[in-house]
Amino acid sequence: MGVNRRDFLKEAGSAALGVGCGLPLLGTACSAVSQEPHGAESSARQWAMVVDVEKCRSEEVRRVCTEACHVAHNVPAIPDPAEEIKWIWVEQYENVFPDQVHNKTAAFIRQTPVLVLCNHCDNPPCVRVCPTQATWKRDSDGIVMMDMHRCIGCRYCMAACPYGSRSFNWGDPREYIPTDENGRFPTDYPTRSKGVVEKCNFCAERLREGLQPACVEAVNQIPGGEGALTFGDLSDPESEVSRMLNETNTISRRVNLGTGPNVYYKV
């Protein structure tokens, strides 16, 4: 297809503006365009991740990924699933890829544990609905960012995300962050307050330092974890992720919704 959704909305929006200037409802259509809130560089990267489902069958591999992430971002360990904060976590294959299983899919496939995280979509529904631009898709590298100081905690993004990738702080998360004997949090990454939504940020703070995301770095250092997660720039045809997408069979989650996930799964 030659026209993607955003371009279509842009066209439709301009047309709508021309026809019905000032009609607020039509305005909603055209405004999908105006997403440049936080300044941008010109180099348009698109960070992406490839998850090797087979290599993630190892419990150790999955544990290392989630632990590295939770330490790096001071993610609270809340035991109650109703309040649990999730950045990268495990779900069963049949729930991650509901359109990939059929009535006869073997149980061991259905129950395969799969690592899931924010997909940093090309067309993120969370960004579309956020009333304050507290979440936005960064033009410079395609990361779907969160501004914890702007978020009003309306949770519209959570209703909009088709992947359950967003968590709300129902209470003060700091009570649940493991601290050392001096009462210090694991890292300097800013802790969140109650009443805001959070999610995986593809380790934007580490990428700035030229590092790989915490989960990727950690898992590639353990035996059996090499290549379980691969991270790179999709706009660079020479990158490892581009090469993998070219050479192997990969899928992504709920493609029919048109969100354009940037987390891929090698199956």
Binding site: P131, I152, A159, C161, D172, G195, V196
Partner: protein, 386 residues
């Protein structure tokens, strides 16, 4: 005009006292929510909206329904609504106030709520909902105050108010349409993502709002000398009848697409509502009570001899309000989250503090409504003496 709000009989003050007490209870519970966060509610990572947003949705309908008296009166010069129209407009004002408060108490960071206006985001339906709701509240306040003041003085309303009145008609439709768009544009939630949602919202609003107006009119007539008129009440009853029948039709249309196509994503939500899904059936009793009420009310309303007797009509109107409240204020929002995008079924039930806050917001709305209606009644009584 405002002075009449401060002079009233014992019943008036007792009523305000009751509302005031409930407001205090709600505020105490909200204080706890401010300190502890929204964890004191029954909501969870899977069901992220609950009682608050559901009440907001229901009350937007009540607010929008003022158009059902404004349109016949101003556009068709239907004189019988002469006394009813101000009741409709003032009901809309208090309903908008409650809507705003329900959104406010649902915020995780209420102090930042003005960010919605500081960083206007045209692609967010919530931004538009803020605008249209706020605008609707202001329009109704200005129209209500100006026309009522003119009437009190026995002068015709100023000409400049006319365009504003006409504007209020499509604006009323817009508030409930935009509210439906909050839900119906989300690809993640197949239960909400249906084009019939906005029409359904409007039909159910035009049933529940005028029903509430009938009940309020009957109460006013019983306890005060104010009588909006038998004909006006009967006309409202007819409007409720049409709207309710159309609403049932819309529900049927939606059920057909969902069930006949037999697509799992669509069927699951209806299964959850009507029979329960994998043993989870928290809403099932509510839904069946709602359906039973709907059928009884539609049948009752369709029989002219029943509808025309006000004691039956009062019961039918209360039935319609409860049925629509169950539909929008209980079932519609929560079911959108079940099952979750990851296939989990997490049920939702509001907690005691959540209910207290909800009751508090309603009490505040009814406090304002009581004061507004008191002014109307006092001014009318004075006019009729002269």
């Amino acid at each position: 005009m405002l002075d009449t709000a401060f002079r009233g009989g014992r019943k008036y003050w007792i009523l305000l006292g009751v509302w005031g007490l409930l407001i205090l209870v709600g505020m105490a519970a909200y204080g706890r929510q401010l300190v502890e966060g929204l964890r004191i509610t029954g909501m969870s990572q899977d069901v992220t909206w609950g009682l608050y947003i559901a009440q907001f949705t229901f009350l937007v309908g009540v607010a929008a329904s003022a158009v059902m008296v404004v349109l016949p009166y101003y556009l068709h010069n239907y004189k019988a609504f002469g006394k009813m129209v101000i009741l409709g407009e003032f009901l809309a004002i208090s309903a908008v106030l409650m809507c705003m408060l329900f959104v406010f108490v649902d915020m995780g960071q209420p102090r930042r709520v003005l960010n919605v206006l500081l960083h206007p985001t045209l692609n967010s339906v919530m931004f538009w909902d803020f605008l249209v709701l706020g605008g609707y509240g202001i329009i109704n306040f200005v129209v209500g105050a100006v026309t009522f003041d003119a009437e009190r003085k026995g002068t015709p309303a100023p000409n400049w108010i006319k365009p504003l009145i006409y504007l209020s008609i499509p604006w009323a439709v817009s508030i409930h349409t935009v509210t439906a768009f909050l839900y119906s544009g989300l690809e993640a939630r197949s239960f909400w993502m249906t084009a019939i949602l906005a029409p359904r919202f409007l039909a159910s609003a035009f049933a529940s709002g005028p029903s509430l107006l009938i009940v309020l009119a009957l109460i006013l007539r019983k306890f005060t000398k104010f009588d909006p008129g038998k004909e006006a009440i009967q006309k409202l009853a007819l409007i409720v009848t049409y709207a309710m029948v159309i609403n049932v039709f819309f529900v049927g249309v939606e059920l057909f697409s969902g069930l006949y196509s037999d697509m799992p994503h669509h069927v699951h939500a209806f299964e959850y509502l009507f029979v329960g899904l994998h043993g989870h059936a928290a809403l099932t009793p509510w839904v069946w009570v709602g359906e039973a009420l709907t059928v009884c009310c539609v049948v009752g309303l369709l029989i002219p001899n029943v509808r025309r007797q006000e004691r039956y009509l009062a019961v039918l109107a209360v039935g319609v309000i409860i049925a629509i409240w169950i539909e929008k204020g209980v079932a519609m929002v929560v079911t959108g989250f079940i099952p979750s995008p990851l296939g989990r079924i997490t049920e939702y039930a509001p907690t005691a503090p959540e209910i207290a806050i909800t009751v508090g917001v309603y009490a505040l709305g009814f406090f304002v409504l009581t004061v507004l209606y008191k002014i109307v009644v006092s001014v009318r009584e004075r006019l009729e003496v002269i």
